[in-house]
Amino acid sequence: MIFGNRKTLISAAAVATAIAAWTIVGSLGLTTSLFLPPPQEILTTTRELLRDGYRQVPLWGHILVSLARALVAFAAAALTGVPIGLLMGMFPAFHAVLDPFVQFLRPLPKLALIPLVIVWFGIGELSKFLLIYLATFLTVVVSAAAAVLSVKEGRIRAALALGVSPYKLFRYVIFPSVMPDLFTGVRVAIGIGWTTLIAAEMIAANSGLGWMVINASSYLRTDIVMLGILLLGATGYALDLLLVTVQRLAVPWMGKD
C-alpha cells in the first residue's frame, strides 16, 4: 500500500514535470503554436470550446458521442467475443475453422477496411460501430481462446477426479479459471478498440473526439488536435481504470495462484 502511494506520487511528479517543461518551452517562444501549442493555449482553446462547442457540437457532446460509439462496440465485442473465443479454446475443430480468419483480420490496419465497410454497410453509425467492434472482437476472441488453453491441466484433472460432468467442468472450473485472463484480454482489446475510434470517425462523422482531431488537423489547428488527443487519452485511461477496478472486485484472486 505504501508502495502503491509512492507509485502514484512518482507518476504525478512525472506528469507535473512534463507539463512544466511543456509550459517553459511554450513561454520561452521556442516553438510556435503550429508545432506545439503551450498549455496556456490549450486551456484557452478548451474554454472556447466549452463555451461555443466545436463545429456546432458542444465539447462534452463530442466526448459522449465517441464514448457511446465505443462502449456499444465494446459491449457487443465482449458479449460475442468471449463465448466464441472460449468455444475455440474448448474445441480444436472449431478453432481450426475460425482461426485463419481471425489471424488474417486481426493484424490488418482497420483504416484499410474503411472503403469496404462503406461499400457494404454505408456511412452511418453501423459502419463506425463495425470498425471498432471488429478490432475489439478479434482481440477478445484470441485472448479468450488462449485463456482456455492456459488453464492448468492439473486443475482440470483435480476436478475430473471429483466427478464433474463436462458441462460442470466448463461452468464451475474452466470459466472461473479463465476469468482473470478474460479481464486482461478485454482490457487489452478495449485499448485497441479505442484506438480504432479515429478510423471509425473518419467515416462521414460530424462529431466525436476522433472526428474532431481529424477535422482540426485539416486546418492545422494543432491546439484542438492536442486537446482532442488529451481527451482521447484521458478517456481511454479512465475506461481502463474502471475496468481494473471491476477486475479487482470480480477476480480478487488474480495473480495470486
Binding site: E48, N206, N215, Y219, L220
Partner: protein, 343 residues
C-alpha cells in the same frame, strides 16, 4: 612553433566557417539545392507534361522529387514539417495554412477551377435549392467544400436543414452507389462516376464566379526555401508556363501524354484538363487576379482569400481573431514579375 600551430588552426577554422557560410551567400546568384521536393495530387494538369518529360529537372538544373499527397491537410502538415518545398495546393488549404501562420507564400495560380469540380445531385433533384433537407457530401477542407457552401449560400439554401457529410472522394462514390447521399461536390473522376450512375450536374464551380466566389489551385513555397533559391522559383514558374502553353496549343496531344503518364483514361484526362483555366502569368499580374507587388493588396485574389478565411471562421474551423488583416503579405508576385520580365 606553438604560435604557428595556433595560426594554422585559426586559419583552418575560418576556412571551415567560410565554407559553411559560402553557399548561403552564393545562393542569391545561382546555387541550386541538391533536390527540390514538389508536392502534387494525382489529377491531370498541364505541368504533368514537364514531369513526364523531365523538363523541370532540366530547367531547374537539379533533381525534382515528386511527392503525391492524398489531401490538402496532409500537404499542410508536410509543409509544417519542412518535408516538402513547393506544393500545388487548393485555395482553401492555402488560406487555412496562412491563417495558421504556416511560413509559406503563394506565388502563382496554377489553374482556376471552372468545371473540374461540380455539384452532382441524384436524378430528380433539378436545382440547388431543392437540396434543402437532403444529405450532401463534400471532401472536408477542400476547394469543393468551400464551393459547396458558397453554392448553398448563393442559392439561399438553409444549411441547417441539410445533412452535411465529410467524405473522401472515393468514399463519396461508394456512399453514392449505396444511396446513402443525395448530392456531392467533388472533382473528377469521382464527379463523372456519380454522374454516370443516376446523377445530374446541378452546378459547376464556374457558375459561382458571377457571385464573385473564386476557387483555384495555386503554388505555395516554403518561405525559407524561396528566400534561399529565388532564381529557382522563377525558373519553376517559367517552366510551368511553358507546359501550360503546350497544352493550350494542342490539348488532345497533351491529354494523351498526361493520361499515359498517370495511367488514367484519355477522356478523363482531357475533360479534367479542360475543367480548369490556366491563366498566363502576365494576366495573373493584373488586379483581376493576383495583381503585382503594388496592386496585390486590392486585387481579387487577396480579397477572395479573405472571404474564404471568413467562411472557415464561420464554420468554426479557424479562429476569427487569427485571420490576418490582409492576405497580400502572403502573396509574393515578385517571382512572376521576374519570370515574365526575363522572357
Amino acid at each position: 612553433m606553438a604560435r604557428t600551430r595556433r595560426g594554422l588552426l585559426l586559419a583552418g577554422v575560418t576556412g571551415a566557417l567560410l565554407a559553411m557560410v559560402g553557399p548561403i551567400g552564393a545562393a542569391w546568384a545561382q546555387d541550386v539545392p541538391k533536390v527540390v521536393r514538389f508536392g502534387w495530387f494525382n489529377g491531370p494538369r498541364p505541368w504533368i507534361i514537364g514531369k513526364a518529360e523531365g523538363l523541370f529537372d532540366k530547367r531547374l538544373g537539379t533533381k525534382v522529387e515528386w511527392i503525391a499527397f492524398p489531401s490538402g491537410a496532409t500537404a499542410l502538415t508536410t509543409l509544417a514539417a519542412k518535408e516538402v518545398d513547393i506544393v500545388r495546393l487548393g485555395s482553401s488549404p492555402t488560406v487555412a495554412g496562412i491563417v495558421r501562420k504556416l511560413p509559406i507564400e503563394m506565388i502563382a495560380i496554377s489553374g482556376v477551377i471552372a468545371t473540374s469540380e461540380r455539384l452532382i445531385g441524384k436524378k430528380g433533384i433539378n436545382t440547388v435549392k431543392e437540396l434543402e433537407g437532403k444529405r450532401l457530401a463534400y471532401p472536408p477542407g477542400s476547394t469543393a467544400h468551400y464551393a459547396l457552401m458558397a453554392a448553398l449560400k448563393v442559392n439561399n439554401v438553409d444549411v441547417g436543414k441539410t445533412k452535411l457529410l465529410g467524405l473522401t472522394p472515393a468514399d463519396m462514390v461508394a456512399a453514392w452507389k449505396r444511396g446513402d447521399i443525395d448530392a456531392g461536390y467533388v472533382w473528377g473522376p469521382f464527379s463523372h462516376q456519380m454522374e454516370s450512375d443516376n446523377g445530374r450536374e446541378l452546378l459547376a464551380t464556374k457558375d459561382l464566379w458571377k457571385s464573385s466566389y473564386f476557387v483555384w489551385n495555386n503554388y505555395v513555397v516554403r518561405k525559407e526555401f524561396s528566400q534561399q533559391y529565388p532564381a529557382l522559383i522563377v525558373k519553376f514558374l517559367q517552366t510551368f508556363e511553358e507546359t501550360a502553353n503546350r497544352y493550350k496549343q494542342n490539348p488532345d496531344e497533351a491529354a494523351r501524354l498526361i493520361a499515359a503518364h498517370l495511367d488514367q483514361k484519355f477522356e478523363f484526362a482531357r475533360d479534367t484538363l479542360a475543367g480548369l483555366e490556366y491563366l498566363p502569368l502576365k494576366e495573373q499580374l493584373t488586379p483581376k487576379w493576383l495583381g503585382n507587388s503594388q496592386t496585390k493588396e486590392t486585387a481579387t485574389i487577396a480579397k477572395s482569400m479573405a472571404d474564404a478565411a471568413n467562411f472557415l471562421a464561420e464554420l468554426g474551423d479557424i479562429r476569427k481573431q487569427d485571420i490576418p488583416s490582409s492576405f497580400a503579405p502572403s502573396i509574393n508576385t515578385t517571382y512572376m514579375e521576374k519570370a515574365v520580365g526575363g522572357k
